[in-house]
Amino acid sequence: SAVISQKPSRDICQRGTSLTIQCQVDSQVTMMFWYRQQPGQSLTLIATANQGSEATYESGFVIDKFPISRPNLTFSTLTVSNMSPEDSSIYLCSEQGALRNEQFFGPGTRLTVL
């Protein structure tokens, strides 16, 4: 298992502002990921956070909207930029475990945009 923390756990933001979400894991990991879980829906991968290089974004997600940092092997941030109500969602980070089919998730950040 893994210990993953996210900050903030929840926030209510105004349209047009930006929010940065932090993800801290308890051991050094090569791969970290950011997902979005919109209300009543499943998880969708936003990007892979690569240490020392630019994040790799999935189709439909762009760096200008969701800039990601990965300064070291235990920490990553996701920024949701120029927010609109459609960005209201739960944002989750995850880490790839030692085994191929182990991926562990943080508790999520619940974002509401007014």
Binding site: Q41, N101, E102, G108
Partner: protein, 109 residues
């Protein structure tokens, strides 16, 4: 076409019943299959994983993969109220997970 399809339910069963959850997937190249459990307002928790076809058992939980029909299943025996949660199937596509919609299960005491 979605990579993973899952009936969102909801599913309500009495305590002690067998819960049966199913997903189908589109790409026959997928080899790794996972089931996650998500309690309300929590992150998903890895429940079980299987590689390729076959069964895997862990206590009251059994995961099955049938690659010939691209079908994955999770069975919960002797279900308990504490099993009430949303269950998500997922496939590993080169370390990137694609999830089903999730099935919300309620076990009634």
């Amino acid at each position: 076409q979605k990579e993973v399809e899952q009936d969102p339910g909801p599913l309500s069963v009495p305590e002690g019943a067998i819960v049966s959850l199913n997903c189908t997937y589109s790409n026959s190249a997928f080899q790794y299959f996972m089931w996650y459990r998500q309690y309300s307002r929590k992150g998903p928790e890895l429940l079980m994983y299987t590689y390729s076809s076959g069964n895997k058992e862990d206590g009251r939980f059994t995961a099955q993969v049938d690659k010939s029909s691209k079908y994955i299943s999770l069975f919960i025996r002797d279900s308990q109220p504490s099993d009430s949660a949303t269950y998500l199937c997922a496939v590993d596509n080169d370390y990137k997970l694609s999830f089903g919609a999730g099935t919300t299960v309620t076990v009634r005491a």
